[in-house]
């Protein structure tokens, strides 16, 4: 038996597979840039998001991969489809591309310059790169004992950098507010027709409880496995969109009205802020979870649990509200 260097073969194989997926990404981008039909452009974008999700797994980032698949591949593409559906004229869903010589030359020059710089960066995957030694190392070595949960990503997201996450949740709420200001009408008259297809309704009856359970699983297991509030909110919103697509929006609005969704989106941010204010009442800083309960570690766990719940509620409510506002906009001049 000859001695194969399995580690080196493994490395070469993984680099070859990653290079293949990256080349696919490049081809899809080029196809996207030069495509004239907008529907094709959105399809290329879906495939692009899927390849990005696979790349993130190859780079050992399961949280980012799950978020990209749940949000990027599904929600980033349904909003353009809804907009294109609203803009019904056929000549508006085609793009005239204007090539100017200066733009092409500038683009090529910049690509060559950045390609030269990319080789001055530390080698890809090398442990000796400086970024792995300071902040990230201190988080990894101390987060297990200071916070007590297994997922380093959840502990940094919710506890060490909890203030950033609060800001991002407020950004999502603000985006929901902006879309509501732009597209809300007092009388929402959504379409009343639904597909009476028996295959689709039976599939919905089978799939919907599984999807709901899965989103709750991801919400509450965010501390033990990849997951958390963002992904769970997105998956729940996708389930609601599925219901709206198979039945109709009027039917869906009987159960979850627009008023309820607006209240839920504010409720999530309020829960997050109240946790911070409560820890200030107990004598500490804003969002210092150690003071919520008597035991420091239990306080951290409780704080992370509650704020992830708040994030999940806000993300779900805002994304579903955006979908309903996009999909029930009527063409008044047609």
């Amino acid at each position: 038996m000859t001695n194969f260097d399995f580690a080196a073969i493994d490395l070469q194989l993984s680099l070859i597979i990653e290079s293949f997926i990256l080349s696919l990404l490049l081809i899809l981008t080029i196809l996207f840039v030069f495509s004239k039909n907008l529907y094709f452009a959105i399809i290329y974008l879906i495939f692009f998001s899927l390849c990005m999700a696979i790349m993130y797994i190859a780079m050992y980032a399961p949280d980012v991969s799950m978020t990209e698949a749940a949000i990027g591949a599904s929600l980033t593409t349904i909003f353009p489809f809804l907009t294109l559906h609203y803009i019904k004229a056929d000549n508006q869903s085609n793009d005239k591309i204007k090539f100017s010589f200066i733009a092409i030359i500038t683009a090529l020059t910049l690509i060559i310059c950045l390609a030269i710089f990319s080789y001055m960066l530390p080698e890809y995957g090398n442990l000796k790169a400086p970024i792995h030694h300071y902040t990230a190392n201190s988080y990894i070595t101390s987060s297990g004992e200071e916070i007590g949960i297994v997922s380093v990503v959840a502990s940094i997201l919710a506890s060490y950098r909890g203030y950033d996450t609060f800001g991002e949740t407020v950004v999502i709420l603000t985006a929901g507010l902006c879309v509501t200001l732009l597209l809300y009408e007092k009388k929402i008259t959504p379409m009343n027709k639904s597909s009476n297809d028996i295959i689709l309704s039976s599939t919905l009856k089978l799939l919907l409880p599984i999807i709901l359970l899965y989103s709750l699983y991801i919400q509450f297991h965010g501390e033990i496995s990849p997951g958390g509030g963002f992904q769970a909110g997105a998956i729940l919103a996708t389930a609601m969109i599925l219901v709206c697509l198979i039945t109709n929006i009027k039917y869906f609005l009987q159960f979850i009205s627009v008023k309820l969704l607006t209240k839920l989106s504010g409720l999530g941010v309020a829960i997050y802020g109240l946790v911070g204010i409560f820890s200030m009442i107990r004598g500490g800083n804003f969002l210092e979870y150690s003071l919520l309960l008597d035991n420091k570690i239990n306080g951290q766990k409780l704080g992370i649990f509650i704020i992830e719940l708040g994030v999940g509620i806000t993300v779900f409510a805002v994304l579903t509200l955006m979908f309903i506002l996009f999909a029930s906009r009527q063409n008044y001049d047609n």
Binding site: A61, V64, T67, I111, G144, L182
Partner: protein, 118 residues
């Protein structure tokens, strides 16, 4: 074998995204190109965090000294995770503005909007 291929592709998609924003005349296509441009930045940052043969950043045991392992750098993961969600929120706002533009101006083609201004 080319190393640093990730960074090369990330920069190329970056420039192609800007190129698509400049050259395309349809407003929706410009927004989607902005999405691709953002995705390339995320790819760059997460590529910085990879360590070969590392474990995913979920601890094997709570006390790091008892089971020291090499974990992938979790810091870029967190920043990029929130960037994805914020990106879809801002995309939705941009598309809502495009719907209102279509209602008030009647077109979403940039050259026609420029002609209208004169």
């Amino acid at each position: 074998m080319i190393t640093n291929y990730n960074f090369l592709i990330a920069f190329t998609i970056f420039i192609l995204g800007i190129f698509a924003i400049i050259t395309s005349k349809n407003l929706i296509k410009k927004l989607l190109a902005l999405g691709i441009f953002q995705a390339s930045v995320l790819l760059f940052y997460v590529s910085l965090s990879k360590i070969h043969f590392a474990k995913i950043p979920i601890l094997k045991c709570l006390n790091f000294d008892k089971c020291p392992e090499i974990y992938a750098n979790p810091l870029p993961h967190i920043l990029m995770l929130t960037a994805i969600v914020v990106g879809v929120a801002s995309l939705a706002v941009g598309l809502a503005i495009i719907i209102r533009i279509k209602e008030s101006l009647g077109t979403i083609d940039e050259s026609e909007i420029d002609n209208m201004r004169d």
